[in-house]
């Protein structure tokens, strides 16, 4: 067999760039299976496979190296992040398997604390930890493979928004910037506290609300940052107008962006968007927030304006300070306009 040329060039952080990844995936041959309702060709959050007219299972996995010193909190964050993909598809969490890379010589109590944090989040999600796989490695990495269920007619796709929809974001942006500031010892305890609280909040509570309404499209905002996820949501058919004044973010980011605590991943996201985004604003900080890779970020949902008020009220009732950040419009030259 001829060797496939995947991609050239190195990287800066844990997540591979969106552009590089698409090139690799597009080269893999696929088998057609009508029961595979959502596969990776859709660049959606998780795979969905129909097993009967009433039930499809949702599969996802996510793992990464620690972004925080405390192993218990790291476990919680990694699990919250992995579970999130099930919620982004409109599913219910059923089982989870641990994915572990851990140095043989390191204190096993640390691993215990990681797994404890992860397990607590699986239980909070209403799922059960059912096993896992561990390998000895030079560095710590942890995450989950999660299986959930969804009714085949109630799948929340990430690319099916409609004209005049409004866009809702359920968590503030900026956790990537705060984690970067933390890595160089520059983040305040208060900022870290806020970021940790956000990263360990399950998207379950937002998904429960979305479940009761006709949400047209939904995705969780993760490593590709708000803009790249939004671009996937809009596809070729629509554009969106984002009101930068309405973007929720952690205020400490103003200072951290000024000090250039920025990730390489954000720059990759900026390169990937290219001129798909037009900034009609003069704020470098806002640009960086919109490209900031989110660990365990919130849900981005595209909903009918008629349902908006009820959805926001219900989200607030569930303790979620959701923001209405923009709207879906007819396709124009650029995919996203930031005003």
């Amino acid at each position: 067999m001829e060797d496939l040329v995947f991609c050239k060039g190195g990287g800066c952080t844990a997540k591979l760039g969106a552009g590089a990844l698409n090139k690799v995936l597009s080269k893999l041959p696929g088998k057609k299976d009508d029961n595979l309702l959502v596969g990776f060709d859709a660049s959606d959050d998780a795979a969905v496979y129909k097993i009967s007219d009433d039930i499809a299972f949702v599969q996802t996995l996510d793992f990464f190296p620690p972004m925080i010193d405390d192993p218990y909190i790291f476990g919680q964050i990694a699990a919250t992040n992995a579970l999130s993909d099930i919620y982004a598809m409109g599913g219910e969490v059923k089982t989870a398997l641990n994915i572990v890379c851990f140095p043989e010589k390191m204190d096993m109590n640390i691993l215990g604390r990681i797994l404890q944090g992860g397990n607590e989040k699986v239980m909070e999600a209403g799922g059960v930890l059912a096993g896992g796989h561990s390998i000895a490695d030079d560095d710590i990495k942890y995450g989950l493979s999660v299986t959930g269920t969804v009714h085949p007619d109630r799948i929340l796709k990430n690319n099916s928004c409609q004209k005049d929809d409004v866009l809702i974001l359920t968590k503030p942006l900026g956790v990537g910037i705060i984690c970067t500031a933390m890595r160089v010892g520059a983040a305040s305890d208060e900022a870290v506290g806020k970021a940790v609280k956000s990263m360990t909040t399950l998207n379950k509570y937002a998904a429960e609300v979305f479940h009761d309404f006709k949400v047209h499209a939904c995705t969780d905002v993760t490593g590709f940052g708000l803009l790249v996820h939004l671009k996937e949501m809009l596809g070729e058919q629509y554009s969106a107008v984002i009101n930068s004044d309405d973007i929720p973010y952690f205020e400490e980011c103003e200072n951290y962006v000024e000090e250039f605590y920025l990730t390489g991943t954000a720059q990759k996201n900026r390169n990937y968007m290219g001129d798909a985004v037009q900034f009609d604003i003069d704020s470098f900080m806002m640009e960086e927030l919109l490209f900031d890779p989110q660990t365990s970020g919130g849900l981005l949902a595209s909903v009918s304006a008629d349902d908006l008020e009820q959805i926001i009220t219900r989200l607030k009732g569930n303790g979620i300070d959701a923001a209405v950040i923009g709207k879906v419009v007819n396709r124009s030259v650029h995919t996203v306009y930031v005003k």
Partner: protein, 209 residues
């Protein structure tokens, strides 16, 4: 005094943070030369310099070695002197593309006449394009031109070479669908008619073989 920083092997944001620290203790007019091992770090350094209104220049030494030189400027000087202000715009890569030059490949053959010959000519055209000192900013392919950017095309490697040097490679999405090539696109991105029209309107020069 000018300084050197070897930031190879450092993860983001450390190359920028170390450079920033070094520059803080330097006077206007002094430069810091930073070695990094990837293009994203180069871009982040240039972005930093642009935000601080410092001048920057970069050079790719080889695949894993890049040099960025950032010169500290006094912001007041830039306001006073417009010429210097122009120079302070970031020059991240030695750019060999002609801004505003658009190449349109509207078929997978060149000229009218024998089909085989037309295909061979088109292959030669794209190859010759890669050999120019000045490359176009963008190559747009539509109608049967869409075959050129897809698997099985004789011009694929040449188009990839152009893309690697920063030339935008764009193929019409409607055309890919029509010829059932959507799964076979092997270089560049998909575009739409709005984008094609806007790019043609804005182009200084359109080259159509």
């Amino acid at each position: 005094m000018n300084k050197n920083i070897d930031a190879r092997g450092m993860a983001c944001p450390l190359p920028v943070i170390n450079t920033k620290k070094e520059l803080e203790s330097m006077a206007a007019g002094e430069s810091v030369e930073v070695l990094v091992d990837n293009d994203i770090a180069v871009q982040n350094l240039c972005k930093f310099a642009a935000q601080r209104k410092y001048t920057s220049a970069s050079e790719k030494i080889d695949t894993d070695n890049f040099k960025v030189i950032i010169t500290k400027t006094d912001n007041k000087d830039i306001v006073k002197d417009n010429a210097e202000s122009d120079e302070s715009k970031i020059q991240c890569k030695p750019d060999v593309r002609a801004k505003g030059q658009l190449v349109v490949l509207s078929a997978n053959t060149m000229g009218s006449g024998n089909n085989e010959l037309g295909k061979a000519l088109m292959k030669a055209f794209v190859f010759a394009l890669t050999k120019q000192d000045i490359l176009p900013q963008t190559v747009i392919m539509y109608n049967s031109g869409a075959y050129l950017s897809c698997e099985g095309s004789d011009s694929l490697e040449d188009l990839k070479l152009l893309e690697a040097q920063g030339v935008e490679i764009l193929t019409c999405g409607t055309c890919l669908n029509f010829y059932e090539l959507s799964e076979k696109l092997a270089v560049g991105d998909v575009t739409n008619m709005y984008d094609i029209v806007e790019r043609m309107e804005k182009a200084d020069k359109i080259i159509r073989p």
